[in-house]
């Protein structure tokens, strides 16, 4: 228990993953439904549909950037070079189980797309 306390509470030595808002016009986003009971995304009311990306990084690094709460943190959806590991994953329709936006909103303005998607961006690429 002491070792757990030291690792998880004192050092914050663990990965955190979370969903961040995603702009479907610039990236391939995952599709989610606000209503958790709805299993099939096609049944979700349009108002409840949201787009997201998945971020995974070390808690200690994130706390340095954002503190304990990431809701108002501008660095929550970007990786920095100082981090041990950080990845932002976008939806890959080829990947089984991924629910991506069926409409490609990016076709009208591909030049402004930073970065190319679908892909996973890691801090080593930044």
């Amino acid at each position: 228990m002491a070792a757990s306390y030291y690792r998880f509470v004192v050092l914050d030595d663990y990965l955190v993953s979370y969903k961040m808002d995603c702009d479907p016009t610039v990236a391939s986003c995952y599709l989610g439904c606000q209503d958790l009971i709805i299993a099939d995304i096609s049944d979700c009311p349009t108002a409840d549909v949201f787009y997201y990306t998945k971020v995974e990084r070390y808690a200690a690094d994130l706390i340095k950037l954002c503190g304990e709460n990431i809701t108002a943190c501008p660095f929550a959806n970007t990786c920095t070079n100082q981090e041990r590991s950080c990845s932002i994953s976008f939806c890959d329709p080829q990947k089984i189980g991924s629910i991506c936006d069926p409409v490609d909103h990016r076709s009208s303005d591909t030049a402004s797309l930073p970065p190319q998607s679908p892909k996973t961006t890691t801090n080593s690429e930044l």
Binding site: M1, A3, S4, Y5, R7, F8, V9, D12, Y14, L15, V16, S17, Y18, K19, L36, E56, A59, L62, I63, E68, N69, I70, T71, G97
Partner: protein, 559 residues
């Protein structure tokens, strides 16, 4: 890190978003488990079985407590800090359960080898609990670390649970066939209770959390139903305590019922927000508690008294059995010892008589009296031994009776004739009278034994009558179809205490010593037992000391 989509709990446990079932499945179940474990431990803290049950219930309650923290809290650090405890407890509880079942079945501690084996099984769970093998991260969107749980570590500690689920039934089934009928019922109850608890607790928690971790289930709240298995276990443990006094606990059904009632009423607070309802609930809870305390105290007192009486009765039965066994051994000893003593005494008396009568030549006059004393003492000892032998035969059921029809009137008259010289020698007149009105006085009995009784009764009258007379009267009663022999004397008589005990073994009249009469105190006992064995009876009557006595032998007459 804070789970940003969820509200922070109030008082560490209360989250407005969570369904009420979360609390209902956690709080009352943990309290019941804890109370049960503490109650059993309190009643027998030295018993290993009780201590193990306490550890199991403590482990379960702790699991439930941290589960509630995990459900309600939004701080990833706090949840991750407590998370390894789930694995440790989910491995520890099955091992404690196997240990518990061992002690329950075999009534002794397990071997050191088995303890070492259990420790080795647990060691990897303890050593790697805080490492990435168990846990590497946290999803702050869903507010759980399921997807970061190490699969091998999870499989390992779950396998310990699976081992318990196989080991325990095997042990119980094997012992079930060897057990006594009473213990069979206990094994059955314990098996159902423990099986239900482990199966629901381990399988549901594993299956649900695993499905959630691989994304097939989004909501892991189904696992809470696994906790209700503890309630079933608690019910079966309570039945074992109430019905079979397992764990050496005197819990009564009424106590269990009131405790359950108080917990159920208390649990209603979780659902109630209305102030009036809370006041009514509080009043009901207090009243139930107070009435329950008085009721259980009263019932407890009554049951304890009943148990005490039952214990006393059991002890008496046991003591009685032992006394009967000792009495039988004593009779056997007396029989053997008496046979060994009687033979030499007969020789002593016989030779003393022959020497005194001159069979071995002329005996000097001064030797005549000592020889007579030797003969008399030897014959008295032989008679005493015969009494002992008779008692022994009667009590061991080995007395033989030879039933024939004969005339009691004639037998009594002849006995009087035989004893008259002795009576005269003692200065007492022995009279024989007959008043047969409806029969000839014929009876069906063992003539030798009847004569022995008459010798005893008339002989006693002669011994205990220093002066006066003895009247022997034979009479009958046509209505009761009985013939009676009354022996009336003007002797030393008896007080009431002596009369009440006169037919008991080794009892002699309080005044017996005043007339310097030797006796074993067995003659009347033997006479009564012989008369009773032949369908008759002997009664005694006296108006008091110095007032004489009347002994009456009654026997059924042959018409």
């Amino acid at each position: 890190m804070i789970c940003y989509l969820f509200p922070e709990p109030s008082y560490f446990f209360f989250s407005p978003d969570l369904p009420v079932i979360i609390y209902y499945s956690h709080i009352p179940v943990a309290i019941i488990a804890l109370l049960l474990g503490l109650f059993v431990f309190w009643n027998g803290p030295r018993l290993l079985l009780n201590r193990l049950l306490l550890f199991i219930t403590l482990g379960f309650s702790l699991w439930t407590f941290i589960s509630l923290i995990a459900w309600t809290n939004v701080d990833a650090g706090v949840i991750l800090f407590i998370w390894p405890l789930f694995a440790i407890l989910q491995a520890l509880i099955p091992i404690l359960s196997i240990y518990f079942i061992y002690v329950f079945l075999y009534k002794k501690d397990i071997s050191n080898k088995l303890k070492v084996f259990f420790t080795i099984l647990l060691l990897p769970v303890l050593l790697f609990a805080h490492t990435n093998l168990n846990l590497s991260g946290f999803n702050i969107t869903q507010c759980n670390p399921f997807e970061y749980e190490g699969l091998f570590y999870k499989i390992y500690y779950t396998a310990i649970g699976a081992i318990a689920l196989i080991w325990i039934p095997v042990l119980m089934i094997r012992e079930y066939y060897r057990a006594t009928p009473d213990f069979k019922k206990q094994i059955m109850l314990m098996g159902i209770g423990m099986g239900f608890f482990l199966l629901s607790f381990l399988s549901l928690t594993f299956v649900i959390t695993y499905l959630t971790s691989i994304g097939l289930l989004y909501d892991s709240r189904l696992e809470i139903y696994g906790l209700f298995g503890m309630l079933v276990f608690a019910v079966f443990i309570t039945i074992l305590i109430v019905k079979f006094k397992t764990f050496n606990v005197n819990l009564f059904a009424s106590q269990a019922l009131i405790i359950a009632l108080v917990i159920l009423i208390g649990a209603q607070f979780v659902f109630t927000e209305n102030k009036t309802a809370i006041i009514i609930l509080s009043t009901t809870l207090v009243m139930t508690g107070v009435i329950g305390i008085f009721l259980t105290r009263s019932i407890r007192r009554e049951i304890l008294q009943r148990d005490e009486l039952a214990n006393l009765a059991n002890n008496l039965t046991e003591v009685n059995k032992r006394l009967m066994a000792i009495d039988k051994q004593k009779s056997e000893f007396v029989s053997i010892a008496s046979h060994q003593l009687r033979s030499p005494l007969t020789s002593i008396a016989g030779y003393a008589s022959m020497i005194r009568e001159g069979d071995y030549g002329v005996v000097p006059a001064k030797l005549s009296e000592p020889l007579e004393r030797i003969e008399r003492s030897a014959r008295f000892m032989a008679e005493s031994i015969e009494d002992f032998l008779n008692v022994s035969r009667i009590e061991s059921g080995n007395m033989k009776y030879n039933f024939t029809d004969f005339n009691l009137h004639q037998l009594t008259e002849h006995t009087c004739d035989d004893l008259r010289p002795e009576a005269l020698h003692n200065g007492v007149i022995l009279l024989f009278r007959s008043r047969l009105e409806s029969s000839q006085g014929v009876i069906n009995a063992d003539q030798g034994k009847i004569q022995q009784i008459l010798f005893n009764l008339i002989g006693n009258a002669i011994k205990y009558t220093p002066k006066g007379s003895i009247t022997v009267l034979v009479r009958d009663n046509g209505k009761t179809k009985k013939v009676f022999v009354d022996i009336l004397d003007t002797g030393i008589g008896m007080n009431k205490d002596t009369l009440d005990n006169i037919f008991q073994k080794f009892k002699r009249g309080d005044s017996a010593n005043t007339v310097n009469v030797r006796g074993t105190g067995l003659g009347l006992y033997v006479a009564l037992k012989l008369a009773q064995a032949m369908g008759g009876n002997i009664t005694a009557h006296s108006d008091g000391e110095g007032q004489g006595s009347r002994f009456t032998l009654e026997l059924p007459v042959v018409m």
